[in-house]
Symmetry: C2
């Protein structure tokens, strides 16, 4: 048994961020995939790990950490290399700001777009989906501008900001790339045309050794 | 002019968290209070500081930091003493987990209760307010249990967790303590009876040197 364990759900962006952090740091871990369809995150066994019934959770010896940003902050303290939160105060601020802004400005509108699409309800939610697009576009524009100057969101090396944003953008790309999204004319896809620097950055993330181990199994 | 500047709005819990951090660390700062009634956070002058038009923002030399948790993380790196995010990985995880859980589970239901009360609309929003109370009570119960064992939320010394939760709970207490809240029978007040450990913790925060400088001027 590895010293570190992770509880996660396939395709959940917060879970994916935690898995990416484990791989970037090359940490050995035992993987506990919970089945969202069976609501395993609300099972008695998992509620004993996290009474809030949410993932990701990282367990490391006696330490149990929930909340994605706390998981990333913990892993960065427990396994300092490579650093996910920067070596100096200015870079630390930039990384935390980006990580928080993903939650404040991108995660919700992406959910508004992707949830109905994943459930095959594009037409029924056309108005809500269309209304969420400008906010998403504004955020992607900002990231695109950022990535025209540096290979990763907070500079020359990968950071927690990349690991927080990447799965959210993948969720968006997967939803917006569905056949039934075409009639909505979201104007987002293909990302390589609309946001080329962002698309190149996504390829950089996908070249992380161990990336394949984090890819949502049910997406294959 | 001080090296550090802060932009804030009176009574806004995120702004108050930033002001408390500056005081806990005894940082000298120039204070820029923005007037929410005049929407000064959307003025051209402030949009030049933060194009998102939100507070708090901390400026320190050339570094401009927005997003409350990023402000706290930055101040803790730039001014390490006293530490707000803990000296070891386990305490760091606990502090970040609490800070994130305040945003995930307490901030929104407190807003649902306090916004209509501050606008004198208790009756019109009775159902929404009443529906938000159980979630708030669950969170306060958890904090109360925690504070029965330690003087501060993450242990023996003050941390970012205390600075994030305190203003949100003050917002709740101020709203729930209004005369027109009485008929709603929220069952929360007075806090010293319902949550005595929490009330004692609030007094501990209020005894921080410099606390008075952070108290919302328009509440006096």
């Amino acid at each position: 048994m590895a010293e570190t364990e992770v509880y996660w759900i396939s395709g959940s962006p917060p879970s994916w961020s935690a898995l990416l952090a484990l791989e970037v740091k090359r940490i050995e871990y035992d993987s506990h995939r919970l089945d969202n369809a069976k609501k395993e995150q609300k099972s008695e066994a998992f509620l004993a790990v996290n009474p809030r019934g949410q993932v990701p959770v990282v367990k490391h010896g006696d330490v149990v950490v929930r909340e994605t940003l706390a998981v990333l902050a913990y892993l960065d303290r427990a396994y300092p290399e490579p650093s996910l939160f920067g070596g100096d105060a200015e870079r630390t601020a930039h990384i935390w700001q980006l990580a928080c802004e993903c939650d404040s400005f991108l995660r919700n509108p992406v959910g508004t777009i992707s949830r109905p699409l994943f459930r095959g309800k594009a037409e029924a939610f056309r108005d809500e989906i269309t209304a969420a697009v400008p906010a998403v576009r504004d955020e992607l524009d900002a990231l695109e501008g950022n990535l025209e100057h540096t290979p990763f969101l907070a500079g020359e090396t990968i950071s927690a900001a990349d690991l927080v944003y990447y799965p959210v953008i993948m969720q968006l790309a997967r939803a917006a790339g569905r056949d039934d999204a075409r009639s909505l004319n979201l104007g987002l896809m293909p990302l390589a045309d609309t946001f080329p620097a962002l698309a190149a950055w996504m390829t950089r993330i996908e070249n992380i050794p161990g990336y394949d181990l984090t890819y949502p199994p049910h997406w294959r």
